[in-house]
């Protein structure tokens, strides 16, 4: 038998070195498809698209710096006598965890820096992630086909909170220990299973000797794995959907306008990673964060005044502070030989309402508007007044809770009564969102009117001219068609009356939907239509004309200001 020469498919002969390398890799693992898919993939460019990136880069920095910290941190609650170089605590009994956290701060070169970088990165991660979510919300980027990615994002937000909390609880100092004690109190408030949950969590009574190592495995393994998994899913979906883009000339629902990944976008985004790293390193170098050596090892008896959690946990702590436990009656209710700890449960349920709205908003909006179309063009927030107003209400609701977590610091810094701070915040908790909703909706409608004004009458140039018959007018410069298109290319949905279902019946739910739709859309400003613009142009000399243009004199006009 003759040898069969296996014919390799080498018809393609690469000429350049790059080509040869590409050829080698592609014939082994088939990477050319990926390069073809991503190499020149178009990403729209806008500064508001940056926050998600910041969050992702912060997460990478968290993983790098966190890995460094694990090399020294000892997640044990065993009692040791401190013998490090921080003199004030020498000879003090403490947990091995706290002792090793001190060692990282004082006895590992650069350890303090890495600890601070890790903490600052966590704060930046949650900050960027939150702003990114607000951007997505206010521009309507969560609409079909991206609803599921919005949910993935919400899960990332929740996970981020848990990641942060489990992380800052690890050093086992007085501050973090009291945070855990609060968690114990919250767990115990859960009906039926709360006491068991607490005992399972702490391995017996608070604080026990197991908690730190349990939190450690959750913090360095379970949560990061989930975070990375969800982030991968999140990015995968971004690729599947392609990025959204802001409305503007040349941008349609069917295209993406922007820069190719290679080289421009990759350079900008890649360079931006280093900038984010630089910012975090700068913070770690110059701003002390979580100076655990000042707090001392955890002891159940002492606590400092002015304790606060990291900001992203603040809304929970603030909610706890805001609910009046004994007004107008005690919110600890004994019933059927059991205790309902409503003083703790209710504020958490109130905070939970916000989270529930957050997760379900894409479906709420879709239900009200019956809009099931694909949306790749974003809304300018003003062009969705109902959504922007609802978001503002949510922000106020959240912020009041977060601010309440600093109620004591507000009282001491501004020399006001602690009780008054609480009363004002309690009022704002419930009425602030309503006020915000009304005001922000009005602002949006006003901004839309301003846009109409610009389209119909052009930009005020500041040139005042006198007409031959003596009248003074200010010349208005009409918008160019590109600028104008940005201001007119939006939809302004009208209230959708209740629709009968397939059986011809109008259900109760449908009536509610119609009522909400009316509430959302009855005040609305429509985009300028070409006919309206035409009318504005020819609506008499000197009064409504817009076509002034560069020449202030001539046939024209401008628009009079009386």
């Amino acid at each position: 038998m003759a040898h069969h020469v296996i014919e390799t498919e080498n018809n393609y002969q690469a000429r350049t070195t790059t080509g040869k390398i590409t050829n080698f890799v592609d014939t082994r693992v088939g990477m050319s498809g990926i390069v073809r898919e991503f190499g020149r993939k178009i990403f729209p460019d806008h500064w508001t698209f940056m926050f998600g990136e910041v969050a992702m880069y912060s997460l990478i920095i968290l993983i790098l710096s966190g890995t460094f910290l694990t090399l020294w941190f000892n997640p044990s609650m065993a009692s040791v006598t401190y013998d490090g170089t921080y003199l004030p605590l020498k000879g003090v009994h403490m947990s091995a965890a706290y002792s090793s956290a001190l060692d990282i701060s004082f006895d590992v070169r650069g350890g303090l820096l890495l600890r601070q970088i890790h903490h600052w990165a966590a704060l930046l991660f949650m900050t960027a992630l939150t702003i990114h979510m607000l951007r997505v919300f206010f521009t309507g980027a969560f609409r079909r086909p991206r609803e599921l990615n919005w949910v993935v994002g919400c899960c990332l937000w929740l996970l981020g909170i848990f990641a942060g909390f489990t992380g800052y609880s690890l050093p086992d100092d007085v501050l973090s220990g009291n945070g855990l004690r609060i968690v114990d109190g919250i767990m115990k408030a859960i009906p039926l299973v709360g006491t068991y949950l607490s005992m399972f969590f702490f391995g017996g009574e608070f604080p026990g000797t197991l908690l730190i190592s349990r939190l450690y495995s959750i913090h360095i393994m379970v949560i990061p794995a989930l975070l990375l998994l969800l982030m991968a899913i999140h990015l995968f979906m971004v690729v599947v959907h392609k990025h959204t883009q802001y409305p503007g000339p040349g941008r349609t629902e069917d295209n993406v306008v922007g820069f190719p990944v290679g080289p421009v976008y990759a350079a900008k985004a890649g360079g931006f990673f280093f900038i984010v790293f630089g910012i975090i390193a700068f913070l770690g170098a110059t701003f002390t964060i979580n100076a655990i050596w000042n707090y001392g090892p955890y002891d159940p008896s002492p606590v400092q005044a002015g304790t606060q959690p990291d900001w992203y946990v603040g809304f929970g702590d603030g909610a706890l502070r805001l609910w009046p436990g004994s007004f107008p009656w005690s919110w600890k209710i004994d019933l059927f030989n059991h205790t309902f700890v409503l003083a703790v449960l209710l504020p958490f349920m109130l905070a939970g309402v916000l989270v529930l709205f957050m997760f379900t908003w894409p479906w709420i909006e879709r239900w009200v508007t019956k809009d099931n179309r694909v949306h790749n063009i974003l809304d300018r927030p003003r062009n969705a007044p109902f959504r922007t107003a609802a978001g503002a209400a949510g922000i106020v609701y959240y912020s009041v809770m977060m601010i309440a977590a600093s109620s004591d610091l507000i009282a001491t810094h501004f020399h006001v009564s602690l009780n008054d701070v609480a009363y004002v915040l309690r009022f704002l908790w419930f009425f602030g969102p309503i006020i915000a909703f009304i005001i922000v909706r009005r602002i949006c409608l006003s901004l839309q009117r301003k846009d109409r004004e610009l389209v119909l009458h052009g930009i005020e140039t500041g040139n005042v001219v006198q007409l031959p018959h003596g009248e003074f007018i200010e010349v208005h410069k009409p918008l160019d068609e590109y600028h104008r298109y940005k201001l007119v290319s939006f939809e302004s949905p009208e209230p959708l009356a209740a629709q009968p279902n397939a059986k011809g019946k109008i259900t109760g739910a449908e009536k509610i939907r119609a009522r909400i739709s009316k509430w959302f859309f009855e005040d609305r400003v429509a985009p300028v239509s070409p006919a309206e613009l035409e009318a504005a142009h020819h609506h008499g000399h000197g009064t409504e004309a817009v076509e002034a243009g560069p020449k202030p004199t001539g046939s024209l006009g401008g628009h009079s200001h009386n």
């Binding site: 170089t85 030989n337 070409p530």
Partner: protein, 364 residues
């Protein structure tokens, strides 16, 4: 804005619509013409941008050198926060500062350099790519057919016995692993009922551990107090857990200012009162005592209790008073507990009402 007269009626808060004209849209003018950058038209500017990027990369290199200088050049040895030798603290700060600035510069240099390169020198023509539907309807229909074939071939619909037993086993199998978590901790809520306090246990100062003579407690003073028997416990035998429940605040208030119910008349010693220090809200230690108003304030969530009035809640999120520890004086004049607390200390929990009833029974 002046009083523009618009072609449409504008009435505040009423829909501004343009009736049938609204159906008509402006045509999309397409992408605006590209305007070249300075670096595109002026070779000098182009060269200048290149020099800037180079400079930024050099700054990055210098940043790395700064890092190594701080790491190897600054020697920090010996103790920190030593009042006799503050030099070390400064060195640590300096080292931390320069290590961080070194990393920051090396990162900023690369980052800003690359971004500047991209913005000034790489092409800035916006490009257009078409989107495609996430999935086509044919593909969906085909996938549905495949799924139905799979289900059909598996026979899961035609064999309900197989299906039901499979569902049963799939539900139960993971529960075996869930069960493994049972031993995470004891499921024994009654651990929360009792503390180390008992009849005759002396009140000692925290942290010195010295007993307290009733005569030494002047009106207006306050003490952090522990049970004397806590000292016999070690970390391994539950010192922290017991301390977390047994911490007590002791204060003396002029008996004339006290408002005490009949059944607690003999729980204080001439106005010396002992209350659990664990907040009944979510368990923080109550650390602040305002002597003039007899108010106890929890620094975590600002629950406020009135010590002169059996620690009733007067403000904040706590929903029930701090438990009072009945105290007396022993034959040597030291303060001792008459018994344990008569209710569980700390935050409320599901079984608390039951425990309160049981403890009332035990006390009688």
């Amino acid at each position: 804005m002046g009083n523009h007269r618009d072609s449409t009626e504008e009435v505040s808060s009423v829909a501004v619509t343009s009736l049938e004209a609204s159906k008509e849209k402006f045509p999309d003018p397409g992408l605006p013409p590209h305007s070249p950058r300075l670096t595109d038209v002026d070779p000098k500017q182009n060269k200048k941008a290149e020099r800037h990027v180079t400079l930024l990369f050099v700054i990055s290199i210098l940043g790395a050198l700064l890092f190594w200088f701080a790491y190897f050049g600054i020697r920090v040895e010996g103790n920190f926060y030593d009042v006799t030798n503050p030099e070390n603290n400064h060195l640590l700060r300096l080292q931390n500062l320069f290590l961080g600035l070194g990393i920051a510069l090396s990162m900023f240099g690369i980052g800003i350099g690359i971004v500047h390169w991209a913005r000034a020198l790489m092409p800035d023509h916006e490009m257009v790519e078409m989107r495609h539907p996430v999935s086509s309807e044919e593909s969906r229909a085909e996938a549905q057919d495949i799924m139905e074939t799979i289900i059909d071939e598996s026979g899961i619909k035609r064999r309900p016995l197989l299906r039901n037993t499979l569902i049963g086993s799939i539900i139960l199998a993971p529960l075996t692993f869930v069960t493994l978590f049972r031993d995470l901790g004891p499921a024994n809520p009654s651990l929360l009922k009792h503390t180390l306090w008992d009849q005759g246990v002396r009140l000692v100062r925290d942290p010195s551990g010295t007993p307290i003579k009733a005569a030494d407690v002047t009106i207006g003073s306050a003490y952090h107090v522990l049970p004397e028997n806590l000292q016999s416990l070690t970390h391994e035998t539950g010192y922290v857990e017991e301390k977390a429940k047994a911490v007590v605040l002791l204060m003396r208030i002029n008996p004339a200012e006290l408002n005490i119910s009949e059944d607690r008349k003999d729980w204080n010693v001439d106005g010396i009162l002992a209350f659990s220090k664990v907040c009944t809200h979510v368990g923080c230690p109550i650390a602040l005592y305002e002597q003039r108003t007899h108010h106890l304030l929890c620094p975590c969530h600002q629950s406020t209790f009135d010590a002169a009035n059996e620690c009733e809640v007067i403000f904040g999120p706590a929903a029930h008073p701090l438990p009072q520890l009945p105290i007396a004086v022993d034959e040597e004049g030291y303060l001792v507990a008459q018994s344990d607390f008569h209710e569980p200390v700390g935050p409320a929990y599901w079984e608390r009402a039951k425990h309160v009833n049981e403890m009332a029974g035990e006390a009688n």
